[in-house]
Symmetry: C2
Subunit: 480 residues, 2 copies
């Protein structure tokens, strides 16, 4: 790989310049291993080097040289992506943003803040707490703003506040050739030319690298209550959510956790009296600027649950709120515990996570069909749903060494996505395309839309060095 050598030599020579100061080049096996995978089931890929950056100037320098030498660059902060977005294909270098983690400005009076891409949303939430403001998107706990822009993520609060697209006002971006641009100013509304902010959001690092993001903040609701209700079937819980969404009631969150998922979370609860009944559960958060607003949502929730629901439980203390939310928060991590007995025998597991979303009226249909597919494929897979948005995840716990099981899981993932497409839904509600859904994206949008994406990519990154091999193939029918 002579181009890598030339690139690294030239970069090395720049480390003492003002633009290069702060850059660290790492090629030791331990660092390579830390940056060769993400949170997904995709096979690890060793980067040729890991370059840590501290400033926008650093990023611009790296990109100028990488472009000159046609070296692929893969952005990385938390590595919490679920579709292989941070894997270093084509012997590229990983650009490590974890040191660009400053909250640059907080404008309390404008309800916005400016942050670097390595800032984690959960740390940001802590830091902002004294201001009474917060940034709504809440994906996996480790996720950082840079990657969150990349995948257009969301989480449990999207039902009220929308996804990253709806919560980022502006970006500073380094392009493939090292040019730095800003996409917008800080006004909450703007029609100033093409919406470059939202062109970069969701582009998974293939069009440019975010070096600063201006985030729209919201006031933390002064009043909120978590309520859960349990249902005899997945279908009856989903039907209840459909009804609640159609009613227009402004819940803060509206989630479904299926019976198997409850079972997994129960595995972590030692005290039998604290375990939850293993039934599919709707978890809602009712919130507003007054207790009246909360009560109104609670009443609507209870009314919709009717007589079918069991164990309607409202959190009355912070401790109880935490206990109820732990159900949702622990789902991803506890899913493998369903195969604990096999782990004891030395088997190793990973989780293949699906991510389809459908128009809300189809939620019952797709959940019922999905449960059937999963069962028929003999897979262990809890289901959690950002039900208010018609979006859900199967957490398919597969034996890393059981090729047949993995193939069955991939088939279910594809079949489920194709069913969602038939319902005019999407193969990815919030995790992005990465490596795992390239074939599905083309089925979803068709060749024409893919060709537009390719042309935009080519226009902004003519050498194809930014996160190559992700989202779509560079040419129709080409293979990775």
């Amino acid at each position: 790989m002579p181009k890598i050598t030339d690139f690294l030599t030239e970069l090395q020579a720049q480390l003492s310049t003002p633009q290069g100061r702060g850059i660290k080049i790492k090629q030791d096996p331990r660092t390579i291993k830390r940056f060769n995978h993400d949170n997904s089931y995709h096979a690890s890929r060793d980067p040729a080097a890991v370059i840590s950056v501290k400033t926008e100037d650093n990023v611009s320098l790296v990109m100028r040289l990488a472009n000159k030498h046609a070296v692929p660059v893969i952005p990385f902060a938390a590595g919490s992506s679920l579709e292989g977005q941070t894997l270093a294909l084509d012997h590229g270098i990983v650009l490590d943003f974890s040191d660009m983690d400053k909250v640059v400005e907080v404008h309390v009076d404008d309800l916005d803040c400016v942050v670097e891409p390595g800032v984690g949303w959960s740390e940001l939430r802590e830091e902002l707490k004294p201001t009474g403001l917060f940034f709504p998107p809440d994906p996996g706990a480790a996720a950082c703003i840079g990657g969150m822009c990349g995948t257009n993520c969301s989480g449990t609060l999207a039902f009220r506040y929308g996804t990253m697209k709806d919560n980022v006002l502006s970006l500073r971006v380094v392009l493939a050739d090292g040019t730095v641009i800003k996409t917008r100013n800080r006004a909450v509304k703007s029609s100033a030319g093409y919406d470059l902010t939202r062109l970069f959001i969701g582009s998974e690092g293939t069009l440019g690298l975010v070096t600063q993001a201006t985030l729209r903040l919201r006031r933390i609701p002064t009043h909120s209550t978590v309520i859960i209700a349990q249902f005899p079937t997945l279908a009856s819980s989903a039907a209840t959510v459909q009804h609640l969404v159609q009613s227009g009631c402004p819940f803060l969150r509206l989630e479904i956790i299926d019976d198997l998922c409850i079972k997994a979370v129960n595995n972590e609860i030692p005290d039998p009296s604290k375990k939850f009944a293993e039934l599919t559960t709707i978890m809602a958060e009712c919130a507003g600027t007054s207790q009246d607003a909360v009560n109104e949502q609670l009443e609507a929730f209870k009314a919709a649950c009717g007589t079918i629901a069991q164990n309607v439980t409202m959190a009355t203390t912070e401790q109880e709120t935490d206990r109820l939310w732990s159900l949702r928060k622990r789902a991803f991590f506890m899913a493998p515990s369903l195969r604990h007995a096999e782990s004891e025998q030395g088997k190793q597991f990973s989780t293949i996570v699906t991510d389809v979303a459908v128009p809300i009226s189809r939620l019952v249909d797709i959940l019922v069909a999905t449960r059937k597919m999963v069962d028929e494929a003999r897979l262990v897979s809890p289901i959690v749903a950002h039900a208010g948005d018609g979006n859900f995840h199967c957490l398919m716990v597969v034996d890393k060494n059981d090729k047949d099981e993995i193939e069955r899981a991939k088939k279910v993932r594809d079949d489920m996505a194709r069913l969602a497409l038939k319902m005019q839904g999407t193969c990815t509600g919030e995790h992005g395309v990465g490596l795992g859904k390239i074939h599905l994206l083309e089925e979803e949008l068709g060749e024409g839309a893919l060709e537009v994406m390719r042309r935009v990519k080519k226009a902004l990154d003519p050498k194809g060095i930014l996160n190559p091999g992700k989202v779509f193939l560079e040419k129709k029918g080409s293979k990775l």
Copy 2:
């Protein structure tokens, strides 16, 4: 213009084919005159021809031939744009979408609908009323969905529901060469590849032509009340709005109408007892799913008004609501009445509308500075503000034949925009760039961002036939 002749000849020959059926070619002076201007102060430009289309197939055919002959195509539906977006530069043809005005599907259970670009938002609102749902963006009354996508418009409801970007789920678009694509499916959340929906929204017809839009609908609030309060100064009204926005209270609308604007609207009210006091006025709409929710907002509003506000008036009947809203609705149309005496002398007036938006904490500063600029330039200009979004319009009523006055108005427009940029705001909150703000867009975003837009444009429309000369100049420093 031989290319036009060749294009029209070839198109004419296709009119009896399945793809061409429904197309009408018009070149009579009356039609040319109807389609040679928009709602702005920009000078009219005669198109070479007006082509009326009825189907997506028609649009695709026209584009294929226009691309072949390099004929510029300017999309047109209502012609209600305020920055010259529909003017036929470069001897182009106008593509008239007003016959593509079908509501194709309404999915009540999914809270969305599919419409053609010639559907007007106000007609759509009427049509949807029986379903209990509505589409929030509410720009000028005549505006159609196609143009609304083009400018990423919004209106008085953006404070709660956002702009077009936040309310369009998916588009079908005909590209420069006639290719038809869809940008998304109907799920409310999707991370499926680049966000082409939002690339086309706000591109003012320069990247592709919308032939179908899937719109997100909301439930009409079951309870709502309009309340107004009048203030001794523009500054005190704006300070009150800033405070209300910062409080996070979820008003439906939050508008400011200045004293001069009230005077203009009063000109239309014959009964002196029905006229409004000529004071700057905040108009809020409080709305929700219960009277409690409304009352909470009303109380927050009254508390923020404190003792400074006068004439706090709440609408208790539908008639009173209409009366209060007429203040805002009639502003644009009544502004010229401020120069009625001169009209009587035979002078002709047009209105130059500005459209800056700033971060909310700067609303007082920019409004006060703007009022000073306008007064110092001896202009007659009411101010109306979508205050909750930090967005406002000066309605500068200028004598069409007074070149000096027009120059003064343009200077104020530019000075005001530059002041907004200093405050990290935008030169256009919702009307778009069109012809009138090309120079300001470059100041706002810088050459790097403009170059990205040019590259995207070149990638999707290599011959530059889609609405040429709008949004930005094709080359840096080039003139129209």
